[in-house]
């Protein structure tokens, strides 16, 4: 019994759903960012699984996964900088308190 592609896809689907659940449920901005990272990792698993076990296996999936990693790193850096600016100005890290533009 070999790990076939559908097992990797199921693992990625479970990881993505857990990340979506965290994004919707949690209220701390740091945990929201971590949950987004979970979802990005799930997508990367899919890319690499298809690059090895897909119908046309080739290296492009790995290159795309590498690019997605770089974008994820930039996203985390900017997100945490926004979080720190928010914490300095309003002394909170709860999404419910990010309501400056709400009317």
């Amino acid at each position: 019994m070999e790990p076939t592609i559908v097992r990797f896809l199921l693992l990625a689907a479970v990881l993505f759903s857990l990340g979506l659940f965290g994004v919707l449920w949690k209220r701390n901005i740091i945990i929201l960012l971590v949950s987004i990272e979970l979802m990005l990792n799930a997508v990367n698993i899919n890319l690499i699984a298809f690059s090895r076990l897909g119908l046309v296996p080739n290296i492009n999936g790995q290159v795309f996964a590498l690019f997605a990693m770089v974008i994820a790193a930039s996203e985390v850096a900017v997100g945490l900088a926004v979080l720190i600016a928010l914490y300095r100005n309003r002394n909170t890290s709860d999404v419910k308190d990010m309501n400056l533009t709400k009317w």
Binding site: P3, I5, A13, S17, F21, A49, R52, I59, I71
Partner: protein, 177 residues
């Protein structure tokens, strides 16, 4: 019914999946924010193991360096710069029910989608090779691809990274009057 013989790859896949999903669930349901940051490290290491299992050695090492190293530490810094004690548990309300329904619905939809695919036909069509298509060295293959076919996207991604990091420094800096 004969018990399906487990190969080493399958055992490794099952153990790593257990670590990944267990860490993710523990991360979502623990109360202290600092433990959440440590649990996400477990998820990242496990995903790196999945990449190595799929013969993507270079991406696995990059995952360990970027995610398990840099991003986890960045999260820990952010947690320590802002203050957190026990995170208060949200009571079961409409918000929780909505989250469970949305995430569970997505999982059910994806599972239904997987079941509609004829995987036996897929298996017969896919080239079953023991060695990966790109040879033994995934580092060489990734480098060849990045520096020939994907040179311009690679440079653009570098520009995005430097802009984002400079922007992060500017956003997080104290404003002077």
């Amino acid at each position: 019914m004969a018990f399906p013989q487990l190969t080493g790859q399958m055992i490794a896949f099952m153990l790593i999946s257990l670590v990944v999903i267990g860490s993710a669930v523990a991360m979502l349901f623990t109360r202290r924010v600092i433990y959440m940051a440590l649990m996400i490290g477990g998820v990242f290491i496990g995903v790196a193991g999945i990449y190595v299992l799929l013969n993507a050695d270079f991406i696995g090492m990059a995952q360990v360096l970027i995610y398990a190293g840099a991003i986890t530490i960045l999260m820990l810094f952010a947690i320590m710069l802002t203050h957190h004690g026990h995170q208060e548990q949200t009571p079961v309300n409409g918000h929780t029910i909505f989250s469970v329904v949305a995430a569970g619905g997505l999982l059910g939809l994806l599972y239904w989608g997987f079941n509609t695919v004829d995987w036996a036909k897929w298996q017969s069509m896919s080239p079953k090779t023991d060695a990966p298509e790109w040879g033994t060295s995934s580092v060489k293959a990734v480098a060849n691809s990045i520096y020939t076919q994907y040179t311009i996207p690679f440079e653009l991604v570098s520009v995005i990274l430097i802009v984002a990091l400079v922007g992060a420094v500017i956003l997080a800096r104290k404003e002077e009057n």
